[in-house]
């Protein structure tokens, strides 16, 4: 049954996307862990298509917002409007009030818009003029962003990056796979072919089930040692936070669930570390001067290779 949800969602997404099974599984684990995902990649690598087809396969209410430089916070979270009939101010809900919000090219919006999303991402609610409104449950944000070196983008603040449970980088695929993509897409892709893969009640049961997965003390210790290794590395200015540790443990728990286990194993943690830690690390500028600078993803890879899991 648990296996069926993973297989069914992956199968549906694969109807419109080639070779994105791993990314779909990561999104599913993030969803069951009640987290948000950041999809990064150059234009044209199916970030938006992945988000859309994933939401569709889950059968959840879905909204897409294209982020732009002239955007205001109320364009996303909503705001107070004057009701001419009742002569009162009323809260008009913004597009964030949905199950799955696709924040397309999130880093094209200015920092104040990005900051407006912090409360919704962390607490599942929005507060405007002292009025707090709960978001629907489940609520997941799938944000896409272009790499920072692209023109017209604002880097996401650390506080917001830390609220994304995972960052999934979508790169170019092998030659033969790209040939398949062109062949399959040479005529228009029919996104309607993605069917709802799981009923609402199955989804709710699965969300409860994912929370009941056991994470042993040994594995919590492993998570802590991995985080500590990022903090003690001289090439890192800002290491993995306690929130990062919690999110890693939660994501590992959900990953175990979608693979049909009621307990987390070391491989669940190890596999997810790059996706959960890499975007949270801020590398030391001093290491640039000494020639020791490496990219955060490579550093995480190095740390994962050095820290011994329980065996």
């Amino acid at each position: 049954m648990k296996q069926t949800i993973r297989e069914a969602v992956v199968r549906e997404v694969a109807k419109v996307l080639v070779s994105r099974e791993k990314e779909t599984e990561l999104l599913l684990a993030t969803f069951f862990a009640e987290g948000h995902a950041l999809l990064e990649g150059v234009p044209g690598v199916s970030k938006t298509m992945l988000a859309k087809s994933f939401a569709r396969a889950l059968g959840l209410e879905f909204r897409r917002v294209q982020f732009t430089p002239d955007m205001l916070p109320l364009d996303i979270v909503g705001g107070l409007v004057f009701n001419m009939k009742s002569k009162e101010l009323e809260f008009r809900k913004g597009p964030v009030f949905t199950n799955v919000l696709l924040a397309d090219e999130i880093n094209r919006a200015p920092p104040k818009v990005q900051s407006a999303l912090l409360e919704s991402m962390q607490e599942g609610q929005v507060t405007v003029e002292g009025q707090t409104e709960r978001l629907p449950v489940p609520h997941m944000m799938l944000a896409t962003q272009n790499p920072a070196e692209f023109r017209g983008v604002y880097p996401l603040p650390e506080g917001q990056l830390d609220r994304f449970m995972v960052k999934i980088t979508l790169g170019y695929l092998p030659h033969q796979t790209e040939l398949d993509i062109v062949r399959r897409n040479i005529s228009e892709v029919d996104t309607d072919s993605v069917k709802v893969a799981v009923t609402r009640s199955e989804l709710q049961a699965a969300m409860v089930g994912a929370r009941s997965v056991t994470v042993s003390d040994e594995l919590i210790d492993y998570v802590a040692r991995l985080a500590e290794a990022t903090r003690s590395d001289p090439r890192v200015a800002l290491g993995a936070s306690p929130r990062a540790m919690i999110q890693l443990a939660r994501c590992a728990r959900a990953n175990a669930y979608i693979w049909g286990r009621s307990y987390v194993i070391p491989d669940d943690v190890k596999e997810l570390v790059p996706y959960v830690f890499s975007h949270r690390l801020r590398m030391s500028q001093a290491s640039l001067l000494t020639g020791e600078h490496i990219d955060s993803a490579k550093l995480v890879e190095e740390i994962v290779g050095k820290v011994a899991p329980p065996r």
């Binding site: 056991t214 042993s216 009621s262 307990y263 740390i303 820290v307 011994a308 899991p309 065996r311």
Partner: protein, 106 residues
């Protein structure tokens, strides 16, 4: 090299005893197996998991009963990380694996 040989012999001897004595055998067997894997495949990083080590061993010894070995691993993980009861049946496939990796068969 000498240390590796000693590790293999020690591991194989341990497995031989454990196969005859079911109580707690699996946990000790897998701990020993991790050491044997480390010695046999020095390219494995310090952070390797048992599953990664076994995947490497499978490439080196594909003729073993890998279905049985992975079933034993599943049971061990369920016991160690899931708090489920430790299976009490001996696993000759594990002894065979250790032997194939350089130890002596029980």
């Amino acid at each position: 090299m000498i240390l590796n040989v000693l590790a293999y012999v020690a591991a194989a001897s341990g497995v031989a005893v454990l196969v005859r004595s079911p109580s707690g055998f699996r946990e000790r067997t897998f701990r020993e197996l991790a050491e044997v894997l480390r010695g046999r495949f020095p390219e494995l990083p310090e952070g390797f998991t048992l599953r990664e080590g076994l995947a490497r061993a499978r490439e080196a010894a594909p003729m073993l009963d890998w279905g049985e070995i992975y079933r034993a691993l599943d049971g061990y993980e369920a016991y160690r990380y899931g708090g489920l009861p430790e299976p009490d049946s001996p696993q000759p496939a594990l002894a065979g694996l250790v032997a194939a990796l350089g130890g002596s068969r029980s």
